[in-house]
Amino acid sequence: MKQVNRNVLAILLFECLLGTGTAEWIPSWTEELHSAVWALFTLYVLLMFGVGLLMIRLMQSMPKEFAGCTMFDYFFGQKVGAVLNVSLIGTLLTYTGKSLLLGVSLIHYAALPYTPTVALVLLSLFVSVQLLSAGFEAMLRFQIVLFWPAFILATILLLISFRTSDFSNLLPAVPTTWKPVVHSAPRVMQLLPGLILLVVYLPIFKKFGMSADNSNRSFVYASIGIVLLHALNLLAVLAVLGPFEASSLQWPVLEMIRIQKLTGPFLERLDLIFLLPVLISVVSAVNLYAYGAYYVLSHYTKPYQRQALIFIFTTVLLLTTLPSNSERFNDVYGVIVTAFELMFFSLMPFMWLRSYMRVRERRIAK
């Protein structure tokens, strides 16, 4: 398959780790820690690198072909793997709904307050449904094609924001007491749901012959890219708006871009231009999570793939349109996703142990 190469894997991993790219985590992080949020950021970087590299190592210990579709099948067997996969499908669909709700909320806030949620959701899902039915390669092509324009545009707009920055807002950079850091540590999970996707996508790349060296390199490049992007977002928001204003705003990055005024009436609404890369990353997150859920589900419903597609589509539509109070349901979905993340992280030592035992058995067998 042409699309299965190191660069594509790096971009895919980047998009998995980025999530929706709406930076809604910034207000909750700065609420307690203010400008001393870098301690939490460091924790995030360590966790992401640690867990991600471990997952890459686990993937390298897996054979190309195995009975199953995700890493759970290989490390826990078919029965336990199936149970975990069903939870995984639920979590992926929940996060798809959460991402869509975030995107819709952003569109309502920034541009179209009266457009019904169902209209925006259907339009987004229209893209995803086509990609799901077209296959993995089509989905990859879509993800890759939009990546660079969105990334470059977002980075340029973030760099422009430094025109109105005051770097003294970054002080004090170190917390005076460590209690708020410990208390805020669980909020790191808001940036880590993307690691769950690796359970699905890494075995797919392994099946198409991705080498160990390439996988490592792709993950390192993707991780460095995502850390730099998140750091740029955080630095810009803190320097321009200050930690206190940032923690009180709903969408601090959007507001920060909005106050940048360039010459002439044509470019006055920079925030609407910034919506382009953000919505691309929202749609990208929706595609990745929906495809992940579809891929796992269609493994168990092989002759009924169309029905699986309809199930995915209907579930996501219901998750996004049924709730009357989107903010409360956003929190509920967040709790579900975080719970699965915690369960997944707690399973990682067992997966590593199983991998170690199997490698040892193979050595003994030789």
Binding site: I107, Y114, A119, P172, E245, I259
Partner: protein, 389 residues
């Protein structure tokens, strides 16, 4: 064939869901709001009177009339009273035949009386609902806000552009964002610094525009007093907000003469020391660079004269800065950000805004001014002595 028909039907149905139709309002059906003014209500002690300056696009092709009495203006002002701003806005909406559109609101003018009661109850609903965007300029007016909205400046067809140009042309401040609603809110929520706004008053009839009176200082969200243009100069210097522009200084030897310095940069630093003592100290170091561009006492361009002028500038700047700080200490409002300085650089000595409010009055200030001047004049020697002979 059946699949294709279903696909075609699905596509047709989905195109009906294209977004934008729900939010689309034709331009002719919009009443474009350019500025908002808020005054105290005549009917109710706690109510407000909201004035909206609406654009009359059909008049924009004609040149503006520099008069407040002319009704052939590019704008129309509508005023209604209500218990709150949103109540008054609703009444205004019901009194006109178009949808109020707030996307072009450039400035919000708050009457001084309302500002003294507290800005947040008035401004918060419109800020939260984004009726007034965070980047709208904020003014506190000593005259009724409605009067400000009725001005039709001679130099700009769109009145709100007049205010915008003050900031986009960097005539008042180097960092215009701080004088917006968003900048006001940012200072409000940041510890150790109080918000400010531009203080305006009854205007210049010739230009048909309000007059800039100085800086309106707040304690939390309540207006506590203003710094006039001279006192505001000290604030501008300390905050690194002084834009490149000429300033006049008194001649060192002649009491009735002045000389002009074209200030090209003012950089200041503020340091707080002795924080653990009862009387903390603020050290303000200011560096001013500029060109001497003539005046009654600038006869020859030599170093001796330059040194005299330099010393005069140094003394006056120091005096202006000290007066500004004393005025703010008298009003007990730290719009300089001395408390914020403590929070940033000595966070362990920061004990909250309430304690800082008690401490700020006791801060002793030392102002160190460093002036670098040079001559930049058309003639090496002034013809004034010849004329006087």
């Amino acid at each position: 064939m059946k699949n294709r028909l279903w696909t075609l039907l699905l596509c047709t149905i989905l195109t009906c869901l294209l977004p934008g139709c729900w939010d689309g309002v034709e331009l002719q059906k919009r009443a474009v709001v350019l500025m908002m003014g808020i005054d105290p209500s005549d009917q109710d002690d706690h109510g407000v009177k909201v004035s909206l300056q609406l654009a009359r696009p059909q008049s924009f092709s004609r040149s503006p009339q520099g008069s407040t009495s002319s009704r052939e203006d590019n704008t129309a002002v509508i005023t209604k009273s209500g218990t709150e701003v949103t109540d008054a806005l609703r009444k205004i909406q019901l009194s006109i035949d178009r949808n109020l559109f707030f996307g072009h609101v450039r400035a919000v003018v708050i009457n001084q009386v309302i500002a003294q009661r507290g800005m947040l109850p008035v401004v918060s609903p419109v800020l939260q609902s984004r009726i007034t965007p965070r980047e709208s300029w904020l003014f506190v007016s000593s005259s009724p806000a409605r009067e400000v909205l009725e001005y039709t400046p001679a130099l700009d067809a769109i009145p709100s552009t007049y205010f915008t140009n003050y900031f986009e042309n960097r005539l008042l401040l180097n960092r215009p964002y701080e004088v917006t609603l968003g900048g006001f809110h940012q200072r409000l929520v940041t510890p150790g610094i109080q918000p400010f706004a531009i203080w305006i008053g009854r205007g210049n009839d010739g230009l048909s525009a309000p007059r800039i009176e100085g800086i309106a200082a707040f304690s939390a969200d309540e207006f506590v007093g203003g710094l006039n243009t001279q006192q505001a100069l000290g604030w501008l210097f300390i905050q690194n907000q002084f834009p490149k522009s000429p300033l006049s200084f008194q001649c060192p030897t002649k009491k009735d003469g002045q000389f002009v310095v074209n200030v090209k940069s003012v950089k200041s630093t503020l340091r707080m020391i002795h924080l653990k003592s009862n009387e903390p100290q603020a050290i303000v170091h200011l560096r001013l660079k500029g060109w001497v561009e003539g005046g009654a006492c600038v006869i020859e361009t030599n170093q001796m004269e330059l040194e005299q002028l330099r010393q005069q500038v140094k003394n006056e700047v120091k005096n202006v800065v000290e007066t500004s700080i004393q005025q703010c200490q008298a009003m007990n409002t730290d719009i300089f950000g001395m408390g914020r300085n403590v929070y940033r650089y000595s966070p362990r000595d920061w004990h909250g805004d309430n304690e800082w409010d008690q401490t700020f009055r006791k801060v002793k200030t030392t102002v160190q001014v460093d002036v670098q001047l040079d001559f930049l004049q058309a003639y090496k020697k002034s013809a004034l002595p010849l004329v006087r002979q």
